[in-house]
Chain length 202, copies 2
């Protein structure tokens, strides 16, 4: 049994990840702090550091959050770009950058991207671009992780559980069950994979 | 003959691009402004806007710059990450975001990434990550460019002309002649390609 920090635990993706973490002690965190063990804002370095210090010993970090702004490229502002970059991209990189000092030897990080970087749709350019950055980051940084740490990213399509929210903007996409995405997180946390983009698509 | 703005014209990559732009009127720009037509800092929105306003009519933008910080991931600071993100990634996105209003109909943008996102080496994690972001950005944004604009990115390996600087950190890489990279820029500016990552590797 590992101690796993699950960030965004109450969200739909967090709940999906949770279905794959049944063998572990899961410590939950989210931005609001509501109904979870800890509050954390991944865009704030101090908040990340505070989370890790409070938890103490842990073997894995599973992140399921990254705020993205959605707009046509012609209309997307610098501020919208930057809020996406600082959350979905730099927020996740900072979870790893800061976390490498706190996590146990042979631990793992599992990040989240999203299928829109390989299946583009309108309004999602900032989401796609930062997903591309995270997928690349994971593939490249795996070679230089210290302490025998592993790192992977789950790149899922839309969830069945979120289809009512996103379905209208994703014609021709087939949603997948959250439990299938949970298995991707399980493969990352429990397996020996590293440097992998684990696609979950239908 | 098109009017092409070449950013980073005096650098080794700029000189390589220039070899492919012989059929065009080339307007040169760089951060220092030395020996070029205009001064521009791609990390500064006002400076980008100023460049486009001063040039007036143009059909293509070719960017060959993006400052990256090089360090091991374990040692790279938030400041080093952000200076790379704001130049190589957001600087280039802003060249397109702001430029779409100024560039002539049916014009083109050609950005620069670099082969280290598909051939990782030590010290280059920020370079690789932002190259991955730009390659993804170009592939996805091409579908929504206004005014029949095209966009591509040249993703080259190291140049023969820069081998004395970078060769030592790139064992097992085969450098390519700048003129070959120039042809990639030529294919982007003169062809009908859009949404392409034009690799130049050996």
């Amino acid at each position: 049994m590992k101690t796993v920090i699950l960030i965004g635990a109450m969200g739909k993706m967090g709940q999906a990840a949770l279905t794959g973490l049944g063998n572990h002690k899961v410590i939950t965190a989210s931005r609001s702090g509501k109904d979870v063990d800890y509050k954390v804002d991944i865009t704030d370095e101090g908040s990340i550091r505070n989370l890790y210090e409070q938890v103490g010993h842990f073997d894995a970090v599973v992140n399921t959050v990254g705020q993205c702004e959605y707009a046509n490229f012609t209309e997307m502002t610098e501020a919208q770009w930057m809020s996406t970059v600082m959350s979905k991209m730099m927020g996740q990189i900072n979870l790893v950058r800061i976390g490498q000092d706190f996590i146990a030897e042979s631990g793992s990080f599992t990040l989240i991207s999203g299928i829109l970087n390989v299946k583009p749709i309108p309004y999602a350019i900032a989401d796609a671009t930062t997903s591309g950055a995270i997928d690349t980051f994971v593939k490249c940084v795996a070679y230089e992780m210290p302490k025998k740490l592993r790192i992977n990213v789950v790149n899922p399509t839309v969830l069945v559980e979120a289809w009512d929210v996103y379905g209208e903007m994703m014609p021709g996409f087939e949603p997948v069950q959250g439990t299938l995405v949970g298995k991707a997180f399980e493969r990352s946390v429990d397996g020996f994979l590293t440097g992998e983009v684990i696609y979950v698509d239908a």
